[in-house]
């Protein structure tokens, strides 16, 4: 039994890296991520993004909701929770997963860390304690919220591996994508996983909060010659849209937040069919997803290449007959692909790869509103996926 924390008395929370992020935040731009104060941008969004794609950049992911799941039924519990087969995520491996409600609608997405045999960490965007306690009934497992107990940084970009080597993490280049390994830092365990939210080579570092500031300092020192920069949410958002990654509350509405039934999305409707495994034991939403599979989905998730250079933010999406068939959920000008790109949800059967769609874009020029109908191409995959993200050993420069 942990002692009461009275954390509810604190309206704004600060991550274990706060002293360092404050010092780095030249623009003094902040927003809230699950009550935590995190940086929108530190010095310049474009330059932070440039560092991410050309050298490396550090993003504070400590506010990520983290739960530890242990007990004899941990695997059975995880398998009943998420749609993919957790038995295939071996100890020392990480897996991306979504979990659904009984209607087969996505509650949240996140990553499962198989820390040691039968011990899992579930990381998610949304708070999940209530959902996990509901899902726990009938299983001999312990679910502990450990968001505050783990400090975490995401180090992403082409020189990320070289930076970690310079930090003294010998052999880190042999980590395969979605693998993790323990190192020692400052006398304590530093867990490193080859994971991230940028679609590039990158790592996430997990450590005791007491060592957080020391880790930040050492990392920036090690990365000095590798162009290391702090990364704010705005620059990260460009990267994740380029990588085609969805975000809860932006690209889909978590099912437990929805009041209207047609606002939620199933894994099939988020292009995540590869995460649904009907051959594994029962999972919440299985029956509804089987029914959807035979009946057909309502929506399709698409990645769009939008003509012109205007980001299609919040745009309606039209078909060839100028009927509204969907809407853009995320949009950005992609510096890497030199194109306006977007993520969108459209009604079936629209949005097959190669078919044309149009985005109705509103934009301002010197306070005057303009409108354009930009033709969109449905892409087969993400706009940006450099080969180095999968290379092992990881390139050192």
């Amino acid at each position: 039994m942990r002692t009461p924390r009275k954390h509810f008395r604190q309206v704004v929370k600060y991550t274990p890296f706060h002293s360092r992020t404050v010092a780095a935040n030249e623009l003094n731009l902040w927003h809230r991520w699950r009550d935590y104060s995190v940086a929108d941008a530190y010095f310049d969004v474009s330059l932070e993004y440039t560092a991410l794609r050309n050298t490396c950049a550090v993003f504070d992911i400590s506010p990520m909701t983290k739960h530890r799941i242990t007990g004899p039924d941990a695997l059975a519990f995880m398998n009943r929770l998420v749609t993919r087969d957790v038995a295939k995520i071996k100890p020392g491996r990480v897996g991306y997963a979504v979990w659904c409600d009984e209607q087969g609608q996505v509650v949240d997405d996140g990553t499962i860390f198989h820390l040691s045999p039968g011990v899992y960490r579930l990381c998610s965007q949304e708070r999940q304690l209530d959902w996990l306690h509901t899902a726990r009934l009938g299983f001999d497992v312990t679910v502990v919220e450990e968001t505050e107990d783990v400090a975490a940084l995401s180090l992403q970009g082409p020189t990320s591996c070289a930076t970690l080597c310079a930090l003294g993490l010998t052999g880190v280049e042999t980590l395969t994508p979605f693998a993790m390994r323990s190192f020692v830092f400052g006398g304590t365990e530093l867990m490193v996983s080859r994971t991230g939210f940028t679609g590039d080579l990158g790592y996430e570092l997990w450590i005791d909060p007491d060592q957080a500031e020391a880790l930040w300092d050492a990392l920036f020192e090690a990365g000095t010659l590798y162009g290391i920069r702090p990364l704010g949410t705005h620059a990260l958002d460009i990267a994740r849209i380029e990588a085609g990654y969805i975000q809860a509350g932006v690209d889909f509405l978590p099912a437990d937040h929805a009041i209207r039934a047609d606002r939620t999305r199933s894994p099939f409707e988020l292009d995540l069919a590869w995460l649904v495994d009907f051959s594994k034991p029962h999972f919440t939403g299985r029956r509804a997803l089987l029914a959807e599979q035979s009946r057909g989905s309502r929506y399709r998730f698409v990645r769009l290449d939008v003509a012109g250079n205007k980001p299609a933010t919040d745009a309606y999406v039209y078909d060839a007959k100028h009927r509204v068939v969907g809407a853009v959920t995320s949009a950005v000008w992609s510096p890497m692909s030199k194109a306006s790109i977007a993520l969108a949800s459209v009604a079936m059967p629209h949005g097959a790869v190669g078919t044309p769609l149009w985005a109705e874009i509103y934009y301002q020029k010197e306070l005057k509103w303009n409108r354009t109908n930009a033709e969109c191409t449905v892409l087969a995959g993400p706009s940006y996926a450099p080969p180095r993200r999968k290379m092992t050993p990881a390139p050192l420069r």
């Binding site: 059975a76 009943r80 929770l81 409600d101 009984e102 959902w131 509901t134 899902a135 009934l137 009938g138 299983f139 034991p281 029962h282 919440t284 939403g285 299985r286 029956r287």
Partner: protein
């Protein structure tokens, strides 16, 4: 692949379901853990030479349609001679006697005579609406076609067809505490106490709790007067078992189902406690919903939300059962001998019932409990040695989750109950040959009633009709393919009615109820 249908539990609903399925030509195997059929509707020996109905002891709402369709009279069901009277014992004088329609004697306030007749007439009219829903699957709340919507539309129509005054009265009263309705209707304490018992018996509710009018109406959806079958309640089950066997169903006794086997989301049979595995194309559970899903199926085979709803279903029993073997017929003060065989109540006022309920809220038993007493050996002398008698009493409140546990307090509670009996029947104690107290914990252990709840779950609006036992399980079918429920945990609920068993059989046979 086998075409066998396995029914878990030979309770009355399981037997009704088995009989209907077998009559339709299905291969039916009923598996019963105990050594006799009947579940909670059994007659059994509790002391050498003395038999009692072990749980339920009066037959209220047994469905006449089932009785007719299954020809239960030919299978041995007969009523003992009973006038179906309720005798509310009076600590200070003559008891109050009513037959569910009129007060026959013992009124303290003359104006209650007409008031009672009017009240019971109104309650019977309102109960008809609930009764109408019994032989049907409950309305669906979401629907794909007008055909699915029809049951809900029909319910609304039937409500309207009660007439303006009755519809208003039903909607006004349905969630009310019985206590408030009694206060606005009657003057006499003894009468109010007797009616309060009818509103709370078998529930963890007091007369001042909401939903007690609903419970009262539910009781009167059957007959206005209780029946006493020859041979006790076990005779009802025996006749059902006989009808089921005659139709071709097999019944295996002493076969405790330890698990319902699920493969790829489909029920494939059961595993017995002995380890024996029996395959089936369909499994029907007569066990209560919590036992079925938490113990037999396993919550991991359900969606997380449904598992939560089942986990939170309310089913804490508060009714214990006391059986007393007597060497002679007890003399209740002021009660003429001709009335001793009727239904006797110890609940001298609504306040008494409410005060009996208070400790139950905090995990304690009532020091002055309410009793519903039946002496079945008067109508059926075969239950006891010549000249001797057996007394069967439902004793409330005795909460299952007693603080400190029942083992340490059972003797003290039994002594309290006997002291209460002594108050109404002086020298009662000197006639006692043997006693048996079944607390809700014993009822759970011996009859598989989760929480010791007689009705497989509290009968309140949130666990009623489509919402019974929980949202998502209201239509006998379950999300697990080929697994059905047929027990009292389903619509229309508890009491020895058999309707849930019949409805379940109809769903299994036709995908709908006729």
């Amino acid at each position: 692949m086998t075409k066998r249908i396995i029914i878990v539990g030979a309770g009355h609903n399981g037997l009704v379901c088995a009989a209907y399925l077998a009559r339709a030509g299905r291969e039916v195997l009923v598996l019963e853990a105990n050594a006799q059929v009947g579940g909670a509707a059994v007659t059994r020996t509790f002391a050498p030479g003395y038999q009692v109905p072990a749980v339920a002891h009066l037959l209220y709402g047994f469905d006449p349609v089932i009785e007719r369709e299954l020809r239960l009279r030919q299978h041995g069901l007969t009523d003992a001679k009973s006038r179906g009277l309720t005798v509310a014992l009076n600590p200070n004088g003559a008891p109050l006697v009513h037959d569910g329609r009129q007060v026959l004697s013992g009124l303290s306030h003359a104006e209650d005579r007409q008031a009672f007749a009017d009240f019971m007439h109104k309650m019977r009219r309102l109960a008809v609406l609930l009764k109408c829903q019994h032989g049907r699957t409950p309305p669906q709340l979401t629907w794909a076609s007008w055909r699915d919507a029809w049951p809900l539309v029909r319910l609304a129509l039937q409500l309207r067809l009660l007439g303006r005054a009755d519809m208003r009265e039903l909607l006004r009263m349905i969630t009310m505490p019985m206590h408030d309705v009694l206060e606005e209707s009657f003057a006499g304490d003894l009468l109010k106490g007797a009616l309060a018992v009818d509103a709370v018996l078998g529930t963890k509710l007091g007369p001042r709790s909401g939903n007690t009018v609903l419970n009262f109406l539910h009781r009167y959806t059957g007959a206005s007067a209780p029946r006493v079958p020859v041979g006790g309640m076990g005779a009802v089950s025996e006749s059902l078992a006989s009808a089921a066997r005659a139709a071709g169903a097999q019944i295996r006794l002493g076969a405790r189902v330890a698990a319902i086997n699920i493969e790829s989301g489909r029920a494939t049979g059961v595993t017995l406690a002995s380890g024996e595995v029996i395959g089936a194309s369909t499994v029907v559970s007569g066990a209560d919903p919590k036992t079925t899903f938490e113990h037999l199926v396993g919550l991991q085979h359900l969606e997380a939300e449904l598992a939560r709803r089942i986990h939170h279903m309310r089913c804490e029993g508060t009714a214990a059962k006391l059986h007393v073997a007597l060497r002679t017929l007890p003399q209740f003060t002021g009660v003429e001998v001709a009335l001793v065989g009727e239904r006797l109540l110890i609940a001298p006022s609504a306040l008494y019932v409410d005060e009996a309920f208070n400790p139950a809220k905090y995990g304690e038993y009532s020091s002055d409990p309410i009793l519903e007493i039946s002496i079945p050996s008067i109508a059926d002398p075969t239950l006891a040695p010549a000249g001797h008698h057996v007394l069967s009493a439902i004793v409330q409140y005795a909460p299952a989750q007693l603080t400190g546990g029942w083992e340490a307090q059972r003797a003290a509670f039994e002594a309290r109950v006997l002291a209460v009996l002594e108050r109404y029947a002086p020298e009662f104690g000197s006639h006692v040959v043997a006693t048996e107290l079944l607390t809700p914990v014993d009822l759970e252990a011996q009859f598989g009633l989760r929480g010791g709840h007689w009705h497989h779950g509290e009968l309140t609006l949130d666990q009623y009709l489509t919402l019974r036992p929980v949202p998502g399980l209201g239509h006998y079918a379950t999300p697990v393919q080929a697994l059905y429920l047929c027990g009292a945990g389903c619509h229309p609920g508890g009491g020895v009615m058999g309707v849930a068993g019949r409805n379940a059989a109809c769903v299994i046979l036709q995908g709908g109820v006729s």
